[in-house]
Each structure stands twice: as C-alpha cells, then as structure tokens.
C-alpha cells in the first residue's frame, strides 16, 4: 500500500479524503455515462438513441406486419397543438416508412419546442430506426403558425418475433427560454 505520510493519522486521513473526492467524481464521471451507456446497450428505458440512422438497402420482410401507433403529449403547461396525422400504421420490417406530425403555436409569441421520443415495449427501442425525425432538432415556431413535421423510420428485421405492436410516443417540452440562452442546441 502506498504510504502518503509517516504519521499514520495523516496517512489515513489523506487517503480517506481522496476516497471522498473520488466518490464525488464517480457520480459525474461514471454514474451518468454508465446510465446512458447501459440504457443504450441493453435497450431499456424506451429511449431511442437520438442519432439519425443511415439506412442500408435491405430486403423488406413481407411476412411480418408490425402495427406502429403514434402518441403525442404536451408536457405540463405547453400550449401547442400537437398530434400525429396518422394514429396507427401497419408496416413491414426493412421498409422505409413516412409519416407526419402536426404542431401549432397558438400564442402571440415565438416559441421553441423539443420533442422527446419514447418507445413501448422498451425492448423494441433498439430495433426502431429513425432516418429522419423532427425530434433530432429543436422546433422553433413563430407566433400563431403551424407546421407539418416529418418522421421517417425503418423497423429492423431483427425485431423479436413476439412483438407485433410498437407505440412511439412524443412529448413536447417548451424550451423557449433555454433555447434563447447561449446553451448549445441538442
């Protein structure tokens, strides 16, 4: 064992101070990244990874039909209208699918929203690839305007056979204040 000092009290105290500081750092440096990595790798928590998927041309699996349902939710106090144009669609794994979400800012001021996705069942999340999604970026909308926001996705053929229905939920958050500051966009 490394001896910091000849005085045993100073020695143990120094080591324990180092341990305390290390445990503090552990929270930021280990726990936060580990949480994100494990959610990603294990495909739990329903988070789809926020990155754009680059599609590879593959054969479409015509033998399976997956029902994809869409849910749109406003976070508390968010005054926008927000809904999917289509509430459910039947798709084949491997096929490229397009749909649109509608959003409207009814207030007389410009606002910015962030849509956060979540997938149910959670274990379907790693197999749901978004090649284009309005959730990748912040959504600014001028006062009293509306927008059609596109979503393009592919379901991986490796999707476990026992999953026939996937629900994709978006929650929009008002980030007008956060976005107006110098905080970097997501």
């Amino acid at each position: 064992m490394l001896r910091v000092s000849k005085n045993p009290t100073v020695d143990i105290t120094a080591k324990l101070v180092v341990v305390s500081i290390a445990m503090f750092a552990f929270v930021f440096v280990v726990m936060v990244p580990l949480y994100n990595v494990l959610c990603d790798v294990l495909g739990i928590n329903g988070k789809t990874d926020g990155t754009q998927y680059t599609s590879v041309p593959v054969a479409v699996d015509e033998s399976r039909t997956i029902t994809v349902q869409f849910i749109a939710t406003n976070n508390e106090g968010m005054p926008w209208e927000f809904s999917p144009n289509v509430t459910a669609m039947k798709v084949n794994p491997g096929a490229v699918n397009d749909t649109v979400f509608y959003a409207r800012n009814p207030l007389p001021k410009d606002m910015v929203a962030q849509a956060i996705p979540s997938i149910s069942p959670a274990r379907a999340a790693p197999y749901f690839h978004k090649t284009e999604c309005f959730c990748f970026n912040q959504q600014p909308l001028s006062a009293q305007t509306d927008a059609e926001m596109p979503l393009q996705f592919i379901i991986d053929q490796e999707l476990p056979k026992d999953i026939q229905t996937i629900t994709l939920s978006y929650t929009i958050f008002d980030i007008t204040e956060a976005a107006s500051g110098s905080v970097a966009a997501r």
Binding site: I12, V17, M23, F26, M31, V32, K47, R186
Partner: protein, 520 residues
C-alpha cells in the same frame, strides 16, 4: 504537553473552541435532541391534520413542507448526529484512547451543523415556502418545479454531508490508529466495530449525495439537463444516483444502533455477547450488500425483469446476516441472569420491533408484491418501525445506559420505565395501523385521504400524540438527572457491564486514558 491539569475553559468559548471529544459529543447529543423535538413537532402537525379526513388545519402545500422537513430533520438532524455524538463520547473511552485522532476537525464537524439547520429551517419563511418535494427530493420536482428555497436546501445538504464525512474520517483514523496496546480489532467492543464499518459507508456514499445535489444545482442554475427530459436528461437517473446513496444511508442509520444494543443486552443478561465474530462478519456483510440493492426503492420505475429480479434477490439476501444478529442477541439473553432496567427495556423493545420492521422490509423486497405496497402507508409503517423503534429506541437506551457515566448522576428509574412503556404503546398505536391502511390502498405523502381510512388514521394520530408527549417526559428526566439526580460514583454503574469505559471514574473525567490502559 505540560503536566499541569486544568479543567475546561469557562463560559461560551469553552463550547465554541473545544477539541475535547466529551464536550463535542455532548454538543452533538443536545443538538440532535433539539432537532428530534423540532422534527417531532412537524410530525405532530402532520398527524393533527390527518386526525380526520378533510382539510382542517393547514394548506396542502404547507403539509408537504412539513412532511419534507420532518424527514430531512429527523434523518440528518436527529438520528445521524445523535449517533455521531455517541461515537465521539464513547469510542475513545472504549478503545483506551485520550481523544479522537483529529480533535480540531472534530470541532468543525459539529459546529457547521447548527448553521446548516438554521438555513434549512429558515426556508419555511422564504418566498415560495420550504422544500416540499419529500425528503427524497426527486428531480424534476426538486429542480424545475421547486421553490426558490431549494438552493438553500442544496447548500444545507452540502454542509451536512461535509460534517458527516469529516466525522467519519475522524472515527476511522481514531479506531485504526489509537487503540490501546493489546486491543486487537477482534477485541474491540461491537459499538466500535459497527461505527468503524458505518464510517466507511459514510465516506463512500455521502459524496454521492453531494454529487446528486450538485447536479440539481447545475440543472437549476447553470442550464444543464441531467434530470430534464427536455434537454435529453432523465428523471430516473436521479433516482438511481439518490438511492445509491440512500440505501447505504439507512444502514448507516441502523448499524450504530445495532452496536449499542450489542453492548446493552450482554450487560443486563450478565453474559457475554453470543457469537462476537459472527456479529462482526454479519455487520460487514450487511454493509457490503447495502451497495447492491438500491433499486428496490425503484421497483415501479420501469426496470426490465432481469433488473427487478437481481435487486429482489440481493435485498432478500440481507435478511440473512440481519437474522444472524437477531438470533445472537436472543441467544445472549438465553439463560442469562436478567434484569430489566430502562436501557434493557428499550433494547428488548428494539429487538422485537426492529424485527417486525425487518419482516415488513422483507415483504417490500418482493418486487411483484411491492407494486402494491410502493408509495403507500405500508412503506411509511416499515421505515418508522426500523428507524424509530429501531434507531431511536437504541439511542434512547444508550442515553439511559451511559448518562450516569457522563454526568455522575442516576436518572429516575421509575420515570425511565414509564417513558419506555408510554413510548412503546404510543409508538405501536401510531404505526401498526399504518400497515393496514397502506395495504388497503392509502398513498403516502397526502394531506387528505379517502373516508375508509379515517378510523385507523385517527388511531394513528392519537398514538403519535401519546408518543410525542412521552419524549417531553424523557427530556425532563435527562435534565433533572443532570441537574439534581442522585449522585453515583460507581465505576461500574451497571454490575454486568464490561468494557474500558466502565473502568473509568464516574463521572468520566475531562481527560481520560492519557496513558493507555493495559488490555488483556
């Protein structure tokens, strides 16, 4: 050091500048008693409002401040400092050391506490009110939706954490380096062992709590999004980080209590503690296991089944070393020559009621069943059994047991026994019915409830008033003892007591073991 002996300094500066472990222990104990009364007063407000259905006395927002502050003050202001105070008083005497390893840091460990709690209590008078998000302060309720006082709350927690960490470093250094020659680790009293292990737990997890509240501070003031979904963060991350601290925390609360009971039961059974080595190993096993069970506080958060199963099995496993300890205490009493003075009454009360709390803990550990119990009064009943009938009874036993050694006067035994029986009866009337309302569906942290829960809530409130009143009697007994109790100068106040502290004069002199004793 010169050979001249002078008594302690006079007046306020004695207490402000003392580095003496007995003085500091005394301050911790009085401070924690004051916090116990304050936290208890908040509990009385809670139970008064819950006495009947409907809102009679307070606004819901204020009620939430009461539940939050009751929890924070009891955990961080009453229970933890009281056991630290006991450690300060007793550890040097039990190991034959003249004082703690770092006496000046010891002074700071105590003196930062009163300001921290003044700040926390003052949040009641701030714009927006005190924290009202529960003592577990989950984000984003405690970040995005918190009142402005949350920043003061965070500062308060940082200071408390610093106090605990410094105190624990002191305890570890003292126990590792300052034992009298001949006192090997396996000859140390159990109280010293349990505190040594607790101190390691504290050094490991208090910084994690500091990290959690720092992340909250950053989310609130510096535009980060650790816990905010809008910015890509996750509220569930908060829960993992908090409970990684929170679960070892509850073992931090109970392990010193186990140590106290391991000292008292042998004394009044006039038999050595049964299974000393297994008690040490069981304590270490509990401490180690406490790191890998945290998500049993989060069974309903949406974990995959593999996670639920792992945490369930690991949690159930803790019952094994805990059971070893309970059986060893019982076996210590078996065929002992027993008397039932007040410390022993509180210790046996601890044994029975903590075991009940442990059983409900086992029920809660069953993940599918916990979906029913989670966030209901069943959980509230469980943790009050282990923390009040567990930790607080143990601390009360410790005060009755060692007070004569500290001040050289005997407490009134009749009043002590009365205190015990009223506490025991009041406590059970308060919390036993809470199991039933919890199982019947009453959620926790609510200021009003559905009508079918009314009868048991009324019973529970009456029990709470009874229990609360008896603590005032305890306070009176302690003060009356110190001021005018029957003087005693027996070194061995209790004839069955063993340990170095019982070789010292009564009351214990200001400086003790300036030369180390011989330990066989």
């Amino acid at each position: 050091m010169g050979d001249h002996h002078h008594g302690p300094a006079k007046g306020l500066s004695r207490w402000l500048f003392t580095t003496n472990h007995k003085d500091i222990g005394t301050m911790y104990l009085w401070f924690s008693f004051a916090m116990f009364i304050l936290g208890g007063a908040f509990a009385m407000i809670i139970r008064a409002e819950l006495f009947q259905p409907g809102m009679q006395l307070v606004e819901p927002a204020f009620f939430n401040q009461m539940t939050t502050l009751h929890g924070l003050i009891m955990v961080f202001g009453a229970i933890m400092p009281s056991f630290v105070g006991l450690a300060n008083w007793m550890i040097p005497m039990m190991i034959g050391a003249p004082d703690m390893a770092l006496p000046r840091m010891n002074n700071w460990s105590f003196w930062i506490l009163p300001p921290a709690f003044l700040i926390l209590a003052s949040t009641l008078f701030m714009e927006g009110g005190a924290p009202a998000f529960g003592w577990t302060f989950y984000a984003p309720l405690s970040t995005i939706y918190a009142p402005p006082s949350v920043t003061y709350f965070i500062f308060s927690i940082h200071v408390l954490g610093l106090s605990s960490i410094m105190g624990s470093i002191n305890i570890i250094a003292t126990v590792m380096n300052m034992r009298a020659p001949g006192m090997t680790y396996m000859k140390m009293p159990l109280f010293v062992w349990t505190w040594l292990i607790t101190a390691f737990l504290l050094v490991a997890v208090m910084p994690v709590l500091a990290g959690a509240v720092t992340m909250m501070l950053m989310d609130i003031h510096f535009g980060t999004s650790f816990f905010s979904a809008a910015g890509g963060g996750d509220p569930v991350l908060f829960q993992h980080i908090f409970w990684f601290f929170g679960h070892p925390e509850v073992y931090i609360i109970i392990l010193p209590a186990f140590g106290v009971v391991s000292q008292i039961i042998p004394t009044f059974s006039r038999k050595p503690l049964f299974g000393y080595a297994s008690m040490v190993y069981a304590t270490a096993a509990i401490a180690f296991l406490s790191f890998i069970v945290w998500a049993h506080h989060m069974y309903t958060v949406g974990m995959p089944i593999a996670g639920e199963l792992f945490f369930m099995y690991a949690t159930m496993l803790i019952a094994v070393p805990t059971g070893v300890k309970v059986f060893n205490w019982i076996t210590t009493m078996w065929r002992g020559s027993m008397t039932f003075e007040t410390p022993m009454l509180f210790s046996i009360g601890f044994l029975v009621l903590f075991t009940i709390g442990g059983f409900t803990g086992l029920m809660l550990s069953i993940a599918p069943a916990d979906f029913q119990y989670h966030d209901s009064y069943f959980v509230v009943a469980h943790f009050h059994y282990v923390m009040v009938a567990g930790a607080v009874f143990s601390m009360t036993a410790a005060v009755y047991y060692w007070l004569p050694k500290w001040c050289g006067r005997m407490y009134n035994e009749t009043m002590g026994k009365t205190h015990f029986w009223i506490s025991f009866i009041g406590f059970n009337i308060t919390f036993f019915p809470q199991h039933f309302v919890g199982l019947a569906g009453m959620p926790r942290r609510i200021p009003d409830y559905a009508l079918q829960f009314a009868d048991f809530n009324m019973m529970s409130s009456i029990g709470a008033f009874i229990y609360g009143a008896s603590q005032i009697m305890f306070l009176y007994n302690v003060i009356a003892t110190i001021v005018a109790g029957k003087p005693t100068s027996d070194e061995k106040v209790w004839d069955g007591a063993e340990g170095l502290e019982w070789t010292l004069p009564t009351p214990a002199p200001y400086h003790t073991f300036e030369t180390p004793p011989a330990v066989r």
